[in-house]
């Protein structure tokens, strides 16, 4: 495993900081508070090729991998601009199509992922299938050459600004068997498809939606990876999702610690900066260590994934998601405490991120489900459910 980034990777990080830095944290905060997508930033990042770093070069992308994509998101989040749609659109949907799409599908969609001009949401969670994805009941039935989809999805992020939603369904004759995902690219304006905002209590630039699919008719070309796609087709997208969620968490943790470290250097209560008190400095140092450790696991998971070590990448991605979420929640809490009353003010922009940081403990896979995974798969312990 390499621990030193190449010049290109470092330059990529610095270029992302340049762009996001020009928008500034005020831009990100304003959009988070208004619940509005950071469209201008997204477009500029897309045109510069930063959203398409992982798309193959032949389709206009950067030809790199999830490692670089995660680096982009980590840097943006470190500056307070968590482009959550990067988790979904390029990382899940772009990867699935690049790895399992037909030539026509790649021609059609990948150039749009390369420059960010296509935004694709991802719908797997259902009212009765969250942690238990085996319960998915959205069904795709064949009708001539077409597919007809029926079902409900919930908590699907960013549908309002998406051109498409990649829907995870199952084919009708496998309804009771092992999960056999069938993935469909659903254009947002398709008859029979409706979406309604879920009233979330998170200060965040993207919203979540409840999806209704009632006799949604899609052509054969909408199916990605075939009707009997291997489970790996789905996991080709889910491991990057975890890595990218970890990237947001690492960035958020760094963001919080940076603000707190600056603050406690300046703020004096007893004639010296409060950062001199170990009651303040040690928790910040500890949070910093935890965030950096989880960052290392995130980079490790990304490197494994890009090397095609899917099994090891799956384990590492879960561990990275778990530890980064925990570290960032803790870092944010510590930072807020370090700022006293200011930690809860709008001016310092910390408290507003509590909801965002908390997402990582629940989604895309909950803390408990990661612990289940590690207990069973890493430690070989029996399953309780």
């Amino acid at each position: 495993m390499k621990h030193v980034e190449t010049e290109e990777q470092q330059a990529l990080r610095s270029a992302v900081r340049d762009i996001v830095g020009r928008y500034g944290v005020e831009y990100a905060n304003k959009h988070a508070r208004a619940g509005e997508s950071m469209t201008e930033l997204w477009q500029e990042m897309g045109e510069a090729g930063f959203l398409g770093v992982a798309v193959p070069e032949e389709y206009g992308g950067g030809g790199c991998g999830i490692y670089e994509l995660a680096a982009v998101l980590e840097e943006a989040s470190t500056l307070g601009a968590s482009l959550i749609m990067m988790v979904v659109s390029p990382a899940i949907c772009g990867t699935v199509i690049a790895k399992y799409g037909t030539d026509e599908q790649k021609q059609r969609w990948l150039p749009g992922f390369a420059d960010g001009s296509i935004v694709m949401a991802f719908g797997i969670t259902e009212p009765d299938a969250g942690s238990n994805t085996h319960n998915i009941s959205t069904v795709a039935r064949r009708d001539g050459d077409d597919w007809v989809l029926n079902g409900r999805k919930v908590y699907v992020t960013g549908v309002n600004n998406a051109d498409y939603v990649l829907i995870v369904a199952r084919t009708v004759d496998e309804r009771s068997g092992r999960l056999r995902p069938a993935m469909f690219v659903l254009p947002r304006e398709t008859p029979g498809f409706e979406y309604r905002e879920v009233d979330m209590d998170i200060i965040e630039s993207e919203k979540q939606y409840l999806l209704f699919l009632d006799d949604v008719r899609l052509p054969a070309e909408a199916l990605v990876g075939g009707a009997d796609a291997p489970l790996e087709a789905l996991f080709a997208g889910l491991n990057p999702e975890r890595i990218m969620t970890a990237a947001i968490a690492v960035g958020t943790g760094r963001y919080a610690i940076n603000i707190a470290a600056e603050y406690v250097k300046e703020r004096s209560v007893w004639g010296q900066p409060i950062g001199a008190h170990q009651g303040i400095s040690h928790p910040l140092a500890k949070s910093h260590i935890e965030v950096e450790l989880s960052r290392l696991m995130m980079l490790h998971a990304a490197a494994l994934y890009d090397a095609g070590e899917d099994k090891a990448a799956g384990e590492a991605a879960n561990m990275a998601k778990y530890s980064a979420a925990e570290a960032s929640i803790n870092a944010l809490d510590t930072a807020i405490q370090s700022l006293g009353g200011n930690g809860l003010s709008k001016e310092y922009g910390l408290a507003q991120m509590l909801g965002l940081a908390r997402i990582g403990r629940v989604a895309p896979v909950s803390r408990e489900m990661v612990l289940n995974f590690v207990a069973q798969h890493s430690l070989g312990l029996p399953k309780s459910y």
Binding site: E8, I19, A48, G49, G52
Partner: protein, 268 residues
């Protein structure tokens, strides 16, 4: 001649990042370069060059933009960043004997480096470095190369063998023409510099980057460094820490208080 390809040299300097506190080190009071970047003011020079060459079909049409820096090994960062942004090739003058060079010695080495590049149409520089801030290198370099110089251009155009530049004063603008080859320094009003995109970052790796020593330039150690410099910094002091300042509370007369304060400080 109308739109023929251009061969442009852009001076790029590796300077301490203004975001961080700056420090002087050593008896010669040289600048601590541990947190350094491509000088922001040179990004305008690079952009000016790229805009001119883009309009003439870019590298494919035979246009060349050489990013030239002089500095220690770490200064290669400024050239690499320029290559990522779009320069065609890089030239880095690096020699231990250059340490401590003032503008006079620096311009000597830069002029020698530019001469190695063959016939050049334009040398474009920033309006100043964000560290030394002498703004004198462009003039010295023009003199050493025997080129007409146009400084502080806020716009420039090249038509055939003529460069036309606009200089903006406080209450006037003037247009200056010079025949090519020429040297132009541009201000931070000249354009809106581009930043590297991902393709540029990847492409930079394959671009030509040459490093030259004094010997390669036909210079000796005594021509440059402290020995070859006309000026030495005899003393330097760090700026005293900022004091708390004055906070005016507005009870209806803040404007008057502010004016009184500024007048008392002889600022207005």
């Amino acid at each position: 001649m109308e739109n023929s390809a251009l061969n442009i040299v852009v001076l790029v300097k590796y300077v301490p990042d203004a975001q961080f506190d700056r420090h002087l080190i050593g008896d010669a009071h040289t600048i601590d370069r541990s947190e350094s970047i491509l000088s922001e003011l040179d990004e305008y020079a690079l952009e000016a060059a790229l805009a001119l060459t883009d309009a003439r079909g870019g590298a494919k049409a035979g246009n060349v933009v050489t990013a030239l820096t002089l500095g220690p090994a770490s200064a290669a960062v400024a050239v690499k960043k320029s290559l990522q942004i779009g320069a065609t090739q890089g030239l880095h003058v690096n020699d231990d004997a250059l340490a401590g060079s003032d503008a006079w010695a620096t311009s000597l080495a830069l002029a020698a480096a530019i001469k190695t590049l063959g016939p050049v149409d334009l040398v474009i520089t920033g309006m100043a470095s964000t560290d030394g801030e002498t703004s004198i290198i462009p003039a010295q370099l023009a003199a050493r190369l025997g080129l007409p110089q146009v400084t502080f251009a806020s716009a420039l155009e090249v038509d055939g063998g003529t460069v036309t530049a606009r200089r903006d004063g406080d209450d006037y603008s003037e247009e200056i023409q010079a025949s090519l080859p020429a040297l132009v320094s541009v201000t931070d009003q000249a354009n809106d510099p581009r930043y590297p995109n991902f393709k540029g970052i990847i492409a930079a790796k394959k671009k030509k980057m040459t490093t030259m020593s004094l010997a390669d330039l036909g210079l000796s150690a005594s021509d440059v460094g402290l020995a070859g410099s006309l000026t030495t910094v005899s003393a330097a002091a760090e700026r005293p820490a900022r004091t708390a300042g004055t906070i005016i509370t507005d009870s209806g007369d803040a404007g008057i208080q502010l004016v009184d304060f500024l007048a008392a400080q002889k600022l207005i």
